[in-house]
Symmetry: C2
Amino acid sequence: MDYRPEDILPSISTDNIIFGLDNRKLKVLLIRRNIEPFLGNWALPGGFVLYNEDLDMSARRTLQNMTGMSNVYMEQVYTFGAVNRFPDRRVVTVAYYALINYTLDNLKAGPDASDINWFDILELPDLVFDHQHILETTLEFLRAKVRTEPIGFELLPQKFTLTELQGLYEAVLGTVFDTRNFRKKILKMNLLMPLDETQVGVAHRAARLYSFNKETYHKLKDKGFTFEL
Amino acid sequence: MDYRPEDILPSISTDNIIFGLDNRKLKVLLIRRNIEPFLGNWALPGGFVLYNEDLDMSARRTLQNMTGMSNVYMEQVYTFGAVNRFPDRRVVTVAYYALINYTLDNLKAGPDASDINWFDILELPDLVFDHQHILETTLEFLRAKVRTEPIGFELLPQKFTLTELQGLYEAVLGTVFDTRNFRKKILKMNLLMPLDETQVGVAHRAARLYSFNKETYHKLKDKGFTFEL
């Protein structure tokens, strides 16, 4: 997209950290830059804030222009403003993050990027600016948050098996849980609804599907319940 | 303090929300502005970021210049950037907060303020810009955080009674706890060390003093323990 220089607040940008889960691996969405500085390098999708938009709007717009994705619910994480984080001049960036349940099929770079891909968080390419640091900080934030709030469920389809749920937590936290203890702990919180359905496409011993009971969670939370894993 | 215009990044500021506890009341530190816009009005202490300082440094410097306070450990909370939050031009502000164990005695406005005072969070004066909104958002953040991390202890002296501790949580959360349940819950976490000392200046039934065992907390936390109140 082309913006007139006078429309751009030159010192403030937003950057977006979009996490997705693929076969028990936690991935992050990166784009290849089609402008200087660092043309052709991998980066978090983001860009300068316009004078006429709020920070949340800027995060949504830049994500859409770089990835084609719209309607992604993002949350502000942290603002990064080290003096030398950007070359030649001062730019402070407000980081936003989202957890999404992605499919790789419809991934296509938007007009403000030349390429786009999901990367395993353990196998990242070199990133521009301080994007590696931003990503690591956001990952720490995510790890703390999935232990005390049931946000992890957003990475799964609506109906999931307990094995998939455990795989999600193992991928995000970079750890391995004892299956029996994990199931006991998660079922005890009464947040999962067992469905009268089992996995599709599995001939033998298809596992039961569950869904997350948001209503119950909010009711319990209002009474002082804390999710803890 | 006088800064040359060329030293100032005009579009980014930091604002500081300093909470203190006074006789079971949660208070916030406000200053009276000695510059335009809104000269003479009450505001959160803060100001523009300089080109040669990080955001954390800016928060510490502006706090010191307005309140005389140094060595206050502050943490970034959230960044506010609504299009019209500042008159005439665009300013995005990064909010920092701290909990301190204050005494009213040595409170004195710094060079960048004309007056300074602690205000009960339930009896605030009119605040400039979106400072009311920033304060409310930070308070929500604080309330969520004191339930899952033992940060509340920073508002108390090193040695405190269980009554003082309960008063702290009641002031921050704006609620009343059942004394027996509160004590049972907090003692069960094994984070308090009973001291061989009792309250000073109380003739009859002086209460036992406790201190917070940070070392134990960090050990338990590493093992997956979550503080929960």
